[in-house]
C-alpha cells in the first residue's frame, strides 16, 4: 500500500560526492525552529553580557552606598539599588558570569567523565562493566542535592569546589547513555574492521564509537547546562555557593529574601534572569534534539502520508 512507502528502509547512500555532514544538516533544521533560534539569541545575548560585564557595568558590584539604598529604577541605576545601595543592574551582569560559567563548566566536566566511564564500561563489558554500573547505582541512590550541600558545608563553600561537586554528582546520566550506545555499536562491522586493521582499543572507543554517539551526548550536555544553573542558584540561595563579595543570581535571591517586605523587586530580577537563561538553554537543547533525531524526520512524513491517504481514499470512493 501507499502507506508502506513511508517506512521503506532507506538504502545506504553510495557517496557519489561528499554528502551533507551531520552537523550541517542539523544546523539547517535547527535554523528553521523558531523556539530554538529564539533560545540561541537570548543565550548569546546573556553570554556576551557576561563576558563584557567588567566593561559594560556602570558600577562596582560590591561597592556599598548606604545613602542611596533601595533606590527605585532611574537613569543612574537602571534597576535601582539594593538594601546596601549596590547597583542591581551591575550585580545582575556580574551574576550572569557565575551562572553561565557554572552551567558550561559543569556540562563539559560531566560529559568528559561520563564519556570515559560509559565508554570503558560499554566497550570492555564483563566485570568492569558490572563494577562501574554498581558505582553508578550507588551514586544515583545518594540524594544529589544533599551530597552537594554536605560537601560544601563540610569543606567550605567555594566556587571551584562547587563546580567539582556538581560535576561529580551529574556525570552518571551521560555515562549510562554512552554505555548503552556502545553496547549496540561495538558489535558493528566497522569495529571488527578497525580491530582487524590493528587499531587500539582507545582509538576504537574514542575515534570510531564515540563519534557515532555524538548526537545524544550533545543533547544531554545542553540540557545539563540548565540543570547546573538551577542547582548553582539553589546552593547559592542556601548560602553554600558563591560567597560575597562575589555575586551570583542565587546569592542575590538569598539576600533578597531578607528584604521581601521593603524591596520585593530585589527578588524579581535575578529570578527572571535565571528563568530566561535556563529556558533558552532548554529550547536550544530541544532544538538540537529535534535537529539530530532521525526519528523526528519519519514522524512528520508519516502524518502527511496519512493525510494524503485519507484524501486519496475519499476521492476514489
Amino acid at each position: 500500500m501507499i502507506a508502506q512507502t513511508g517506512q521503506m528502509p532507506v538504502p545506504e547512500p553510495t557517496l557519489p560526492e561528499r554528502p551533507e555532514s551531520l552537523m550541517r544538516a542539523a544546523w539547517r533544521r535547527f535554523r528553521r525552529n523558531p523556539l530554538a533560534m529564539g533560545g540561541l539569541v537570548v543565550f548569546v545575548i546573556f553570554a556576551i553580557l557576561a563576558i563584557l560585564a567588567p566593561w559594560i557595568a556602570p558600577y562596582n558590584p560590591a561597592s556599598i552606598d548606604l545613602f542611596n539604598s533601595d533606590a527605585p529604577p532611574s537613569w543612574q541605576h537602571l534597576l535601582g539599588t539594593d538594601d546596601s545601595g549596590r547597583d542591581i543592574f551591575t550585580r545582575i551582569l556580574y551574576g550572569s558570569r557565575v551562572s553561565m560559567l557554572v552551567g558550561v563548566l559543569v556540562a563539559i566536566g560531566s560529559v568528559l567523565i561520563g564519556c570515559i566511564v560509559g565508554a570503558v564500561a560499554g566497550y570492555f563489558g564483563g566485570w568492569l562493566d558490572t563494577v562501574l554500573m554498581r558505582i553508578i547505582d550507588v551514586m544515583l541512590s545518594l540524594p544529589a542535592l544533599f551530597i552537594n550541600i554536605l560537601v560544601l558545608a563540610i569543606f567550605g563553600a567555594s566556587f571551584y569546589l562547587m563546580i567539582l561537586i556538581l560535576v561529580l554528582t551529574s556525570w552518571m546520566g551521560v555515562a549510562r547513555l554512552v554505555r548503552g550506545e556502545f553496547l549496540q555499536l561495538r558489535e558493528m562491522q566497522y569495529v571488527e574492521a578497525a580491530k582487524a586493521a590493528g587499531a587500539s582499543s582507545v582509538r576504537i572507543m574514542f575515534n570510531h564509537l564515540l563519534r557515532n554517539a555524538t548526537a545524544p551526548i550533545i543533547v544531554n550536555a545542553t540540557l545539563m547546562v540548565g540543570g547546573a544553573i538551577l542547582t548553582e542558584s539553589a546552593l547559592s540561595f542556601l548560602g553554600l555557593g558563591v560567597q560575597p563579595p562575589q555575586t551570583s543570581w542565587g546569592q542575590m535571591l538569598n539576600n533578597a529574601q531578607e528584604y521581601m517586605l521593603t524591596n520585593p523587586m530585589l527578588a524579581v530580577y535575578p529570578g527572571v534572569c535565571i528563568f530566561l537563561v535556563v529556558l533558552s538553554v532548554n529550547f536550544i537543547g530541544d532544538g538540537i534534539r529535534d535537529a539530530l533525531d532521525p526519528r523526528q524526520k519519519a514522524h512528520i512524513p508519516k502524518r502527511r502520508i496519512a493525510q494524503w491517504r485519507d484524501r486519496f481514499l475519499k476521492s476514489s470512493t
Partner: protein, 323 residues
C-alpha cells in the same frame, strides 16, 4: 519470578551497603572530620586523647564504620554533638512532616497530570496541549524556591490571604484547617514544578500506545472511541507511568529541601540544610542513609511492579541488554 525478585532484592541490599560506606567515608574525609567537632576546643593534647578515646574516635576507621552500621541497624543513629539529643527523635518527626507536604503535593500533581495528559494525547497539538507544553517549559526552567518566594510575596504579603510560612500558627498545633491553610502555598509551588514532567510523560505514554496496531484493530472493529481510550489504551499506557511513579518516590522524601527552607516547613530537607551548616554529622549521615533507603526501595518497587505487569522483563533475564 521469585528468582528475579531475590536477585533484585540482593542487588538493592548491596547498593545500600555501598551507600553507607560512601556516606561514612565522605563524612570522615572532611578536614578534621567528626573528631575535631566532637572534641572541645582548647583542650590539652592529653585531654583530647582521653576524650577521643572515650568517644571511640581513636579506633581504626573500619571498626568505627561497623559500629555505626551495627547501631543504625538497631535504629540508633547516635546523638547530636551540641545537645546530645538522640538523632532519631530529631529526624523521624521531620520525616513525617515532609511526607505530609510532599505526599499531598504528589497526589495533587497526579490527579491533575494523568487525566490532563490523557486528554492531550487525544487532541494532539490542541489548545490544552499547547498550554501544557508552555507550563512544562516554565516548570523546568523556574527555580522552585524562587517561585515560592514570589507566591509568598503575592499571596501572603500583598494580599494577606494565606500564611507566609511554617506548618502551624502559634497555638494551633493539631488544627487541620490551620494546617491546610499553611499547606496551600508550598503545595502549589511543588505542584507547578512536578506537573511539567508528569503531563508530558502520561501524554507521550498514551500516544505511544495509541499508535499501536491493536488500537487500530479495536477501532476497525467498531469499538467506541471512549472504550478504545479507557479500556484498550489507558491500561497499557499506565504501565510505564507506574514505573515512573516508583522511580520518583524518593522525591517525596528528599526533593523538597529548598521549598521547605523557603516556607520554613519543619521537614527533613530543611533539617538537613540547617544541620549541614552546624556540621551535625550524625544527623547528616542519618538523613543521607534514610533518603538512600527510600531511593533504592523506590527503584526496587518500580522494577518489581514492571516485572509483574510485563512478563518480558523477567523472562529476558539478562539485565542491561534489554535496551
Amino acid at each position: 519470578m521469585s528468582a528475579y525478585i531475590l536477585r533484585r532484592v540482593l542487588q538493592s541490599v548491596l547498593v545500600l551497603f555501598l551507600v553507607t560506606i560512601a556516606t561514612f567515608l565522605l563524612i570522615h574525609a572532611a578536614p578534621g572530620g567528626p573528631t575535631s567537632i566532637f572534641l572541645a576546643p582548647g583542650l590539652s593534647p592529653q585531654a583530647q586523647y582521653i576524650q577521643a578515646h572515650n568517644l571511640g574516635l581513636d579506633r581504626p576507621l573500619p571498626i568505627q564504620y561497623l559500629d555505626w552500621l551495627w547501631r543504625m541497624l538497631h535504629g540508633d543513629f547516635g546523638s547530636t554533638f551540641k545537645n546530645g539529643i538522640p538523632v532519631g527523635s530529631l529526624v523521624w518527626p521531620t520525616l513525617l512532616n515532609t511526607i505530609i507536604l510532599m505526599g499531598i503535593a504528589w497526589v495533587v500533581t497526579l490527579l491533575i497530570a494523568i487525566p490532563w495528559g490523557i486528554y492531550n494525547s487525544t487532541r494532539e497539538y490542541g489548545i490544552s496541549d499547547t498550554v501544557a507544553t508552555v507550563i512544562s517549559y516554565a516548570g523546568f526552567a523556574l527555580p522552585a524556591f524562587w517561585l515560592g518566594l514570589m507566591l509568598q510575596q503575592i499571596f501572603a504579603m500583598r494580599l494577606g490571604w494565606l500564611p507566609l510560612s511554617d506548618m502551624w500558627s502559634r497555638g494551633q498545633e493539631g488544627n487541620l484547617a490551620d494546617l491546610a491553610r499553611h499547606l496551600v502555598l508550598p503545595v502549589v509551588t511543588l505542584v507547578i514544578g512536578f506537573l511539567a514532567g508528569y503531563v508530558k510523560y502520561s501524554r507521550s505514554s498514551m500516544l505511544e500506545v495509541l499508535g499501536q496496531d491493536y488500537i487500530r484493530t479495536a477501532r476497525a472493529k467498531g469499538v467506541p472511541e471512549s472504550k478504545v481510550i479507557f479500556r484498550h489504551a489507558l491500561r497499557n499506557a499506565l504501565i510505564p507511568i507506574i514505573t515512573i511513579l516508583g522511580l520518583d518516590l524518593p522525591i517525596v522524601v528528599a526533593g523538597a529541601a529548598l521549598t521547605e527552607t523557603v516556607f520554613n516547613w519543619p521537614g527533613m530537607g530543611r533539617l538537613f540544610v540547617s544541620e549541614a551548616t552546624a556540621r551535625e554529622y550524625n544527623v547528616l549521615m542519618a538523613i543521607t542513609v534514610i533518603t538512600a533507603i527510600v531511593v533504592v526501595a523506590g527503584n526496587l518497587i518500580a522494577d518489581l511492579l514492571y516485572a509483574v505487569v510485563d512478563p518480558r522483563v523477567r523472562l529476558g533475564e539478562k539485565e542491561g541488554e534489554t535496551t
